[in-house]
């Protein structure tokens, strides 16, 4: 499947196509990640995305949707820590119907985390890092699935692990 890059006419931000996997068929589906807009907040329901996303309005919040479909599949809020050259994932939620055994689309959270890695790489170059502060019970799973390393209560990805994540969720046919 050819994944097309798309852009909207904005000089501030370039949405990027990434890849999701349709569970039933194993085929890949193009996805777009772009900033959440004011109008989106009306469609973001707590029933689907659990957290109070209105509280994230002042920060940097991104949505993931399938290419050609306006429905939001995942949300992520991040914060820059410029002094430490890292981006911290404050909050992430996949639409509830896409979590667990009943999900139809796989890779939503991975794509959002890889997108944070890309933003960090773009901003901080060779020093780029992504961090999050996990619930204790989930700590090992973030480490196993995405390659996060422990640091106190936090987790981070950096260097080769970060590059591997970018490669796994690459959004075009050119491997990095």
């Amino acid at each position: 499947m050819i994944v097309r890059k798309v852009y909207k006419n904005s000089k501030l931000f370039v949405p990027l196509c990434m890849l999701l996997r349709v569970v039933a068929t194993g085929r890949f589906l193009g996805a777009v990640i772009e900033p959440v807009e004011e109008a989106d907040y009306k469609t973001i329901k707590k029933k689907s995305f659990f957290f109070d996303w209105n509280a994230e309005k002042d920060g940097m919040t991104y949505k993931l949707r399938a290419n050609g479909d306006r429905g939001i599949l995942g949300l992520m809020s991040v914060a820059y820590f410029d002094e430490e050259q890292r981006i911290n994932i404050r909050l992430l939620a996949v639409a509830k119907e896409q979590v667990g055994v009943g999900k139809k689309i796989d890779g939503i959270a991975g794509n959002l985390i890889a997108f944070a890695a890309r933003m960090s790489s773009n901003r901080y170059g060779e020093l780029a890092a992504v961090s999050l502060i996990p619930k204790t019970a989930l700590r090992k799973h973030y480490m196993d699935k995405y390659g996060f390393q422990p640091a106190g209560r936090g987790l981070f990805i950096f260097g080769s692990t970060l590059y591997a994540l970018l490669n796994e969720y690459r959004y075009d046919s050119q491997p990095i």
Binding site: R90, L138, A151
Partner: protein, 180 residues
């Protein structure tokens, strides 16, 4: 999110499913927050000090690649010489002299200088050498599209050439201009 709400989700989903669907908000005291940030900063400092030159270079090249990508998909045009600018930055990432780099891709230093200074357009074989030199981190198509973006802009905005060429068009198609 309260602890109860987390428990509700945890009752519905296994931990690996939750980790595949959520990053929960950190509920830390001020002290815990400071401790966590200090631990992250210390761990990152240690990792950065232990970085090999190869990993460092990969990071620098990825940054360049992503910045090229962003430029290529944006409609904004940065002007002539963008190709040369990125090529110069590529050589800077390598921490090599231009002469060394020219040798590595088997071109002369003056040829390289012409590409960087927008005096000569590199042929496709050179673009492919650039891709091979970066081990595919920056594909030849990216370099080509930088040049293409310059050409498109020139074609779109070259009014002098349009005026000059008008004399060669003896008869234009007869269309209703109001519909254009």
């Amino acid at each position: 999110m309260t602890h109860n709400q987390y428990d509700i989700l945890a009752a519905e989903f296994a931990p690996e499913e939750l980790a595949d669907g959520y990053v929960f908000p950190a509920e830390l005291s001020k002290t815990e927050q400071l401790e966590t940030e200090a631990a992250l900063a210390a761990a990152l400092t240690a990792c950065r000090q232990a970085m090999t030159p190869e990993v460092r270079l990969k990071g620098a090249l990825l940054q360049l690649r992503f910045q090229m990508e962003d430029y290529l998909v944006k409609p904004a045009y940065q002007g002539q010489g963008v190709f040369g600018g990125y090529l110069k930055r590529y050589i800077d990432c390598l921490k090599k002299t231009r002469a060394e780099f020219a040798r590595e891709i088997d071109i002369t230093p003056s040829e390289l200088s012409q590409y960087i200074n927008h005096h000569r357009r590199p042929p496709q074989n050179v673009l492919i050498r650039l891709e091979l030199h970066s081990r595919g981190t920056i594909p030849a198509t990216f370099w080509y599209r930088l040049l293409e973006k310059e050409c498109l802009h020139e074609l779109e905005t070259n009014m002098v050439l349009r005026e000059d060429q008008a004399k060669y068009v003896k008869r234009a198609t007869e269309t209703d201009d109001a519909c254009a």
